[in-house]
Subunit: 322 residues, 2 copies
């Protein structure tokens, strides 16, 4: 939960004067997202989300993120549409920070997704991959194997504080994952952070995909692997095969996987688990106790990593290989 | 900022089934209020605030708080209206906590109120006092002089950590304030926490008064004294006479003060400053650094206390004594 920057009604009113959204009626800081400050606005023109980009977001990436959302929304993906200012821009400045106004999407994120939700998110992810295929901008994934090493270098000396032996275990993972990491699979734009809190549902259907601030060019199947980690494990870190099968079937109902992609799933899922373990470990070691940002247990992702390490074949994820 | 309790869409849907508000469209935890968890809901029936009462609120007080809001709203005070469940109740239970649904009020609270805002809030406060006069329930003020002593006993041993000499200064204040505290002034229901974040404006007019969770029976002029502390000091703790005069004139345009009330203002303002200093001091000493709740500096209220101590006559607040 996060509102890092408070804004006054005068400065917000001045900012909104550039947008064709009518008069401001209310704005509330919302306790969602961990990187930026978000406000839910009501204006005469409707409901909007105002995002102030805090220091962890590189301003140079904003045209990619906002352009992607606009591209996807215009192709029918249920994601927020950036509102253009009267000067044509989608990026303004507020309280000394880059800021954007995007449409508000109704819907609820699922604290306890069912297999049916997993099927729908699989379909939505494949739809996103297809719709993004002709987006002209590109962005390198800062959190692919090369970027992980950077996080790891800063954290590994203290990894054993989380669990004795963790440093050695992760070192071995790194060696193996980077050695076998595939490079010749279908690639394109991926969401890269499609966790349940980034997908809204209404009436059992996906009504909104949000938070494109990790989107980048990478292997499409890596995005699926992240969804398996994010959606298909229970609280006790047991893999729910029914959910996994539903997610994969949903995805394949829109875009069937190539055999090489299916084959790579266990390794991609290990890599994805490692990536989220590393960011959590970094936060765990650097954020003071009780701070505004929720610290999440890196061990949840170590346990996923261990699960994926013992997977012998992609069929163990419930994938239906044609 | 605060959302202490997360809720799932299933449990919220079940809860809302008891209310005639139509289907749920979205809910977002909002980063306002410090005592309870608040969500902004959109349903087919409109926008609502859902409040989950956390442990600092006594459940036995809820009929007073919610009944008062309903009483005031029906008398035309712009405050939230509690929504009745199908069984007639306004208090339900959600996630193991008492919970209520109230109408959402558009409007913005003023981070930098002007004298005109102060005039409007004075008028609104007097209107609230008048509208509440025939509310049949009563509630004792837990934070009147008797209650302050309880907070002070727990904090005074460490008061000098905030500023050397503070313990002795506050002890002397206590002796003087309790000795001269008036008992024969007009009393009734007061808001008791009418800070800028609890008053919304639209188009220069008050569009909403919220957060009645300190409301109680006490001296009406004590509520005015709290507003002087909350609205009429600048960031450097200088008293803004123009704002004070506007607030008092606004109040008196609706309900003229009796001479004894005006006379008591300096002492009431000292008491009010002491009360808010004490709750801040308590939080300052007991809440861990970096916790979810914003810790506010008790010294801001020590400085107000010192200002009021040197006030020789109520006219120094800008009051127009008829």
């Amino acid at each position: 939960m996060a509102v890092y920057t408070d804004i006054s009604e005068e400065e917000l009113g001045a900012f909104l004067g550039e947008y064709p959204v009518g008069e401001l009626l209310s704005y509330k800081g919302i306790a969602e997202g961990t990187e930026n400050s978000n406000y839910l606005l009501h204006t005469f023109g409707g409901a909007f989300i105002l995002t102030l980009y805090e220091r962890r977001v590189d301003k140079a990436d904003l045209p990619f993120f906002l352009g992607l959302m606009e591209h996807l929304a215009r192709k029918g993906v249920t994601c927020p549409l950036p509102v253009h200012r009267r000067d044509g821009q989608t990026i303004g400045e507020l309280a000394g920070r880059p800021a954007a106004l995007i449409t508000f999407l109704e819907g609820m994120w699922m604290r306890r997704p069912t297999p049916q939700h997993c099927r729908e998110v699989g379909k939505a992810l494949a739809g996103l991959h297809q719709a993004a295929a002709d987006f002209p901008l590109t962005r390198k994934n800062a959190l692919s194997p090369g970027g992980w090493m950077h996080l790891w270098e800063g954290a590994k000396g203290r990894a054993d504080e989380v669990e004795p032996g963790l440093e050695r275990e992760v070192e071995a993972e790194f060696a193996e994952i980077t050695r076998y990491w595939p490079t010749d699979l279908p690639s394109g734009i991926i969401h890269a952070d499609l966790f349940p809190d980034n997908v809204f549902f209404l009436g059992g259907k996906v009504s909104g995909i949000i938070d494109f601030y990790f989107a980048c060019n990478d292997l499409l199947a890596y995005d699926i692997a992240t969804c398996l980690n994010a959606w298909c494990f229970e609280k006790d870190t047991s893999y729910n095969l029914t959910k996994g099968a539903a997610l994969l079937a949903g995805y394949q109902s829109v875009r069937p996987l190539e055999p090489s992609e299916a084959e790579a799933l266990p390794l991609l899922a290990r890599g994805s688990a490692l990536r989220f373990m590393l960011t959590r470990l970094h936060d765990w070691l650097t954020i003071p106790d009780g701070a505004l940002v929720n610290k999440r247990d890196p061990m949840e992702y170590v346990r996923r990593l261990r699960f994926h390490r013992q997977v012998a074949a992609p069929t163990e994820y419930g994938i239906d290989i044609a």
